[in-house]
């Protein structure tokens, strides 16, 4: 059934890594096949941060094919070589796990589409996120396991969205885990709870328009759908409103950009969402207990209605 959570601090930064971990852990009963974080951290905004993977987590419960770890090193080498060829300078490199890497890149990116296509043309390599603030971290296991594995509890930033996944229609692997990067847009991410029934029709149309899909997870469609609308000049809110009719099925989803956070609920309101809104904080999740993990005191919350779209700025 999956659970989603998100929060945005308005006018200040906070320990969003720890806060989101608490929210997602409160929702772990909704699925702990995998957990993902999209964190918008405090950075100087000069360099791009690229989170990417060169392989899958093939641990217990994974549906991925076991690979020799040595291929990860080979793929990393090709990535480094490709970045050098494009004139991108790696300022800082972190390899949290053999298959998961974080690069800070000094590069005057004119076209993230072309950049991403070149990196992802390397077999087995997928960019999880690309942006000057956004970092997408996703892996198998519940929120605490992923948070501990990647030391996310100390990440400071303004907003974040996350997802606790119960795999239903695609594999238990990182590529099918949420959040999805709004490829090829810098700093756009999406999490979704629900099921889209016109996934393949939309996918064919969008692929013909040059958009890319990395998984067969229906939720990825939302990220690509909105990214395509924004590519054509729509604002985030306009793209989200268009999705209410363009996407068929049941859904509640969040989209985050560098300076905003939005939610949309389908016209049947079939998927849950509880929302808390104040002048300096918006917190929302599939269940109230997620919000309670950051706001234990008595608060006023509500369920957004069917067909509702809301966007908040930091």
């Amino acid at each position: 059934m999956c659970g989603i959570a998100g929060l945005i601090h308005r006018g200040k930064s906070s320990n969003v890594g720890s806060e989101l971990q608490g929210m997602l852990q409160a929702l772990k009963h909704r699925g702990e096949d995998s957990t993902g974080y999209a964190l918008y951290g405090d950075t100087d905004g000069k360099n791009f941060i690229m989170r990417f993977k060169v392989g899958e987590n093939v641990g217990e419960g994974s549906s991925s094919i076991m690979e020799d770890v040595s291929v990860y090193d080979e793929r990393k080498k090709v990535v480094d070589q490709t970045l050098a060829e494009m004139g991108a300078k790696v300022i800082k490199e972190e390899r949290t796990l053999p298959y998961s890497l974080r690069y800070e890149i000094d590069y005057d990116v004119k076209d993230l589409l072309e950049f991403s296509q070149r990196i992802e043309s390397i077999p087995g390599v997928e960019i999880l996120s690309m942006g000057k603030s956004l970092e997408v971290i996703k892996d198998l296991g519940n929120a605490k396991m992923v948070c501990d594995r990647y030391s996310l509890d100390k990440v400071v930033g303004t907003h974040a969205i996350g997802h606790a996944r119960m795999a239903t229609e695609s594999g238990v692997d990182i590529k099918s885990a949420h959040p999805f990067w709004g490829y090829p847009f810098s700093d756009v991410s999406v999490v979704h709870n629900g099921q889209l029934t016109n996934y393949w029709n939309n996918r064919r149309v969008l692929e013909n328009k040059g958009m890319r899909f990395m998984s067969e997870c229906d939720s990825e469609l939302i990220a690509v759908y909105i990214a395509e609308k924004m590519r054509d000049g729509a604002t985030l809110e306009e793209g989200m409103k268009a999705s209410l009719t363009g996407l068929d099925g049941v859904f509640t989803y969040f989209v985050a950009t560098k300076d905003s956070l939005g939610m949309a609920k389908d016209t049947m309101a079939a998927k849950p969402l509880v929302l808390y809104e104040s002048d300096d904080l918006v917190a929302m999740g599939s269940e109230e207990i997620a919000i309670r993990s950051v706001l234990p005191q008595e608060i006023d919350t509500y369920d957004p209605f069917d067909g509702e779209v809301k966007v908040w700025q930091i």
Binding site: A269, E288, I289, D300, Y302, G307
Partner: protein, 284 residues
Amino acid sequence: MANLKTVSKKSKAQSMGMHTEVLTGRTQQKFFNPDEAENFYYFGTYDVDFNKRTDLDVKDMTAPEANKEIDNLMSQGYGTIVIKNPQGKHSLGVGILNKLNLIFEGSLGYFGMGSCDGPIVRINGRVGWSCAENLMAGKVVIEKNAGSCFGAAIRGGDLICKGSVGARTGIDMKGGTIIIGGDAGAFTGFMMQRGRIIILGDVGINLGDSMYDGTIFVGGEIGSYGSDAVDSELTSSDQDWLKRKLKVAEIGENFDVSKMKKIVAGKKLWNYDNLEPTEKKGAI
């Protein structure tokens, strides 16, 4: 066609004492004699004193632990229990088949007060999805907002939300009254079969979709009507009943009920007869 009243042959079930009610139509069917109500009790219910009051802090309890403790307190005769720090936990207060004054100082998560019969409950916060599902009798008052499927499949009692509620309020309800002080979401009264829903505010799309029976009263705007939901005349007795109910519900006492819309089933989707299976067998 055989006359049902003259069918005298008893089935095996009837000879065992089952299906012995006098059937004079589904709506008049009596399930037990009110005169014998004193002898009617649930197994495991307690004789409680409403003046015997206690607090229960559930902050560090799981829902099963909290529910077990409520049961334990009732067994000690406590008739008024105040629950502190519910903090949005799911399934609190479920399955209470007892007379009881229950007060939650805070909000509940999903399935709060589900499958209850008899308690009077006040929740000084918000409730999540499916609050008071399958309520048989009693009264549940929510001071703030409620999630979707509010009062799903209730059979009786009064369910009152002073704020707004989500989608599918009163879905499949078979009796009782649901009163909403604010707005209600899409598919309110979806497939309802009996009972009444009162909404003082606006209501979303597909109101009363595929309702079999029952009545919905709306004070505000209606997003759209569902399949087979139609307007009906608001009678003076309807208005009197609405005034009484709103007064009891402590909301909308000054609300002008004469301007409310009344929605009922058009009954164009009715494609079934009203015979019990045993009756049908006799008819054939």
